[in-house]
Amino acid sequence: MNRSFFYKVALVLVALSLVPLVIFLSRREGPPKKISVKVHQRQTVENFVLNSTGEEKWVLKSPLAVFKERNLIELQSPVLKVFRDPPIVIEAERALFDREKGELRVVKVKLKSGQLFGASQEGTYFVGREFFTTNSGCFIKIRSSTTTGKNCTLKFKEREVIISQDVRTLIDGE
């Protein structure tokens, strides 16, 4: 009787000792879920040149461009030339070009087209629609008149300027 009793006890002990192992093995996490991590290198390009592909003919140049994302490019001292009549030349201290939307967000910008010269602290030029807009102050010179104001829009296609706040114009000698 004693032997079988001890045998049973031994069996129980063996079973009990296996329990932690089973728990441990069952709790072990499965392999991590596959997450797609955007692998992006901050690509820097010197003497960056980007030519238009669509109907509008333009070229965007910058001594230094940094690709923040595939379609988002940071540009130092960019110059955008739009080949139309009269041509448009936009220069800035720096800019962010959103290739997908066709928007050039510029800081300390100067715009020239024919007799028009404009300047502003910041703004956005919409490449496809050829117009520039800013909510901050702007300075516009057209032939003998200079105008300052806020909330300015330059529509190059329509050759129209709209300033919708604090307008002040000086027209030279009449």
């Binding site: 024919g114 007799q115 028009l116 516009i140 057209i142 032939r143 003998s144 008149s145 105008t147 104001g149 329509e158 050759r159 129209e160 300027v161 709209i162 300033i163 919708s164 706040q165 604090d166 307008v167 002040r168 114009t169 000086l170 027209i171 030279d172 000698g173 009449e174």
Partner: protein, 141 residues
């Protein structure tokens, strides 16, 4: 007036729309325009430039119009101002006050020299006034 420096025109307003094709600038909202000593006020002011866009052909003012200069002040429904000649044409309920004289008509043309023509179809009023010379003498035609 050879040699007399041309006077700049200064305009202030809430909003401006300039169109280089039409060579026209439209100012809207509390418009104040100054040319030398002449001051124009109105709700809306349109500048018509010459074809080359370099000079002003005329300025048209509409709504709550008031014009003031050394020679007097005036009110009307619509005003046309020619900066090159410093001539103002007040159209519709035109009223001009020069010193004590008040002139009323359908249309008043005021010249830089101070000479004024008043035309009145509705009220058949027609007045021609000559500015007094210094020393009070009146200059007859």
């Amino acid at each position: 007036q050879r040699g007399k420096p041309k006077l700049p025109v200064v305009i202030e307003a809430q909003k401006l729309t300039y169109n280089d094709v039409q060579k026209r600038a439209v100012y809207v909202g509390n418009v104040v325009a100054q040319h030398g000593k002449t001051i124009l006020n109105g709700d809306k002011l349109i500048i018509y430039f010459t074809k080359d866009g370099k000079e002003i052909k005329k300025i048209v003012v509409m709504g709550n119009i008031h014009i003031k200069s050394e020679k007097g002040e005036g009110w009307c429904d619509q005003l046309v101002y020619y900066p090159a000649q410093e001539k103002a044409v007040l159209i519709g309920n035109a009223k001009l006050k020069q010193g004590k004289n008040i002139l009323v008509g359908d249309r008043i043309v005021a010249y830089k020299s101070g000479r004024v023509e008043v035309v009145g179809q509705k009220r058949r009023v027609k007045t021609v006034i000559f500015p007094e010379e210094k020393g009070g003498e009146s200059k007859r035609p």
